[in-house]
Subunit: 335 residues, 2 copies
């Protein structure tokens, strides 16, 4: 949202009367592009370069929004849109195929200041599901829309349908064929779903926002809904605690209510965001035999990005402005 005239006048008064405006929080942001079997042996040099470049583009674009006193909501959406527009991630353009050869996407967005939220599931032919999630949050009395109905809502709100071919990528199509030939093998292999994207940010007003977008899992059937659009599972933000976006085997993140659990450990047990995120990923999620990771940020701008898989595409710019772009585990990354 852009500040209205009234807000501008109000801010001007604050400046003229010598008061500090609320623009005094540190700013920070983290993004992810999926967790899984990511190592130097499974990623080609070309893939690695392309993914690093896209993560860098997304995080610097979003950080500029924050630097220019923009909202964390706009920052999160700008990062996710860039990742949705890239064929390298399982979201938007690069989404995996369902059993029926379609691309059906899930996304969610949550505002830590108001606890407003918008989520969508099973949405086809929408280029940027995260933009639709924002429209649900802002323009619908509902929080969570799904399927053809959500697309109908998108059209009413002025979004355009893009043709099926927009979402066609040879790699993802081949993965569906592999999955149909050897479903058990492919199901066990995170490559077949890797690439869910997400972002969490803290803006100068001290507001936390979280967003997540995904194509789900290759060969998904029966209208499967994963954790990404579930507020409290794959996506959660609360100014009292943290903003979290998750990626991994969604079913376990739902059962673990992972994103809200991290928030609750911070708010109710007084844990640091890093201790809370690590406990949930390495202890509680692992106990359920679930694999994946999260990005989390607290209201002071502290960032945590734990994962119990081999790697996780991730990037951050912390409160001191330090940029990190990483694909593998810490040790492999610094080789």
């Amino acid at each position: 949202m852009k500040p209205g005239p009234l807000l501008t006048i109000f801010a001007t008064i604050l400046v003229f009367t010598g008061m500090t405006a609320t623009a005094d929080s540190p700013i920070a942001i983290a993004i992810h592009g999926g967790a899984g079997t990511i190592s130097r042996s499974t990623v080609t040099v070309e893939q690695e370069q392309a993914i690093r470049a896209k993560l860098l583009e997304a995080i610097t674009t979003a950080y500029q929004v924050l630097e220019n006193d923009g909202d964390s909501m706009d920052a999160v959406i700008s990062a996710i849109k860039i990742l949705e527009d890239s064929p390298h991630f399982n979201a938007g353009k690069g989404s995996v195929f369902t059993w029926d050869g379609k691309n059906e996407m899930d996304a969610a967005l949550m505002d830590g200041a108001s606890l407003d939220a918008g989520a969508i599931s099973g949405v086809a032919n929408i280029a940027n599901p995260i933009v639709l999630a924002r429209l649900v949050m802002q323009k619908s009395k509902h929080v969570f829309l799904s399927g053809d109905g959500a697309v109908e809502f998108a059209i009413e709100q002025g979004l355009e349908k893009v043709p099926d071919k927009y979402f066609f990528t040879e790699r993802r199509w081949q993965q569906l064929q592999d999955f149909k030939n050897q479903p058990e093998l492919a199901a066990a292999e995170p490559q077949y779903r890797i690439g869910t994207v997400g972002a969490v940010a803290l803006d100068r007003k001290g507001n936390l926002v979280a967003g997540t977008s995904t194509g789900g899992t290759t060969g998904k059937r029966y209208g499967r809904i994963g954790d990404s659009p579930i507020i409290g599972a794959g996506t959660y933000a609360n100014n009292r605690s943290v903003a979290v976006s998750a990626t991994g085997a969604g079913e376990f993140f739902i059962r673990g209510t992972v994103a809200h659990d991290i928030s609750a450990l911070v708010e109710y047990k007084g844990m640091t965001v890093d201790d809370a995120a690590r406990e949930v990923i390495f202890e509680k999620l692992a106990a359920l035999k679930g694999d994946g990771g999260v990005i989390a940020i607290d209201r002071h701008g502290n960032i945590s990005m734990p994962f119990n898989t081999e790697g996780m595409y991730r990037a951050s710019i912390d409160t001191s402005g330090k940029v990190k772009i990483m694909l593998y585990g810490e040790k492999a990354e610094t080789k």
Copy 2:
């Protein structure tokens, strides 16, 4: 689940060696049939008698399961099936109509011992959505299925489709017409969604289970998903803390991650189930301007049933065997 031969032999050995089996937890159960503008002026004597009778039937049937050393899972499902089969509640047979004149139902089930869960959304022509939720939990690798795909899964698992007319009730059909004529008026009136059903139970093994089933809101559009099938929002169970089922304006329960928040306050802040449930309903949900209520039970069998509406259809049998059947606020109830 019935005990298999091996378990029977094992239990027999325990008895013969004089050891106490695990069958030593107190048992207790609570159910709800919706929260809203329920008062002696809005409910006819006939409605009241029918609703009280059905709540009594559901809770005594479920309690007998627990008394006979049955699982809390079977107890919860037996109660919810009875309420789904009644035209008096907004679940199963008595479900409200969507904008398009259909009956599309949501349900969820969670096992506090394993954190296993099953959920469905937007499912038509299935008489007992809670049974389908259990099949998702037990027979699918996924946790959450939706729409036509969920129905396809139901058929594969041997459930039968019932015709549209099974779900036709004159009262609900008239509510849809009212809603179409005066959508704002009807949307503000909880009568148009009242009747979500749910159950929480503690069995002799000390296992907690929660389940919820609903037809959603009258005139719902765009594939709207409410809180009932969202693990952590409308339904949650964890043997470390509590089992919770919610009813009310679903969007607020999603934003408040109500069910998991009550669990987290008990587990992480050491609050009693009643203090936790009351704080979430009267403070946090009210701050979001959300209305509704929950039933919650902890691992000792303590029951809490707070609501911030005028009334909530509810019933409980506590650890001492005391039966309560209530529709209105405490004061109005004891008149």
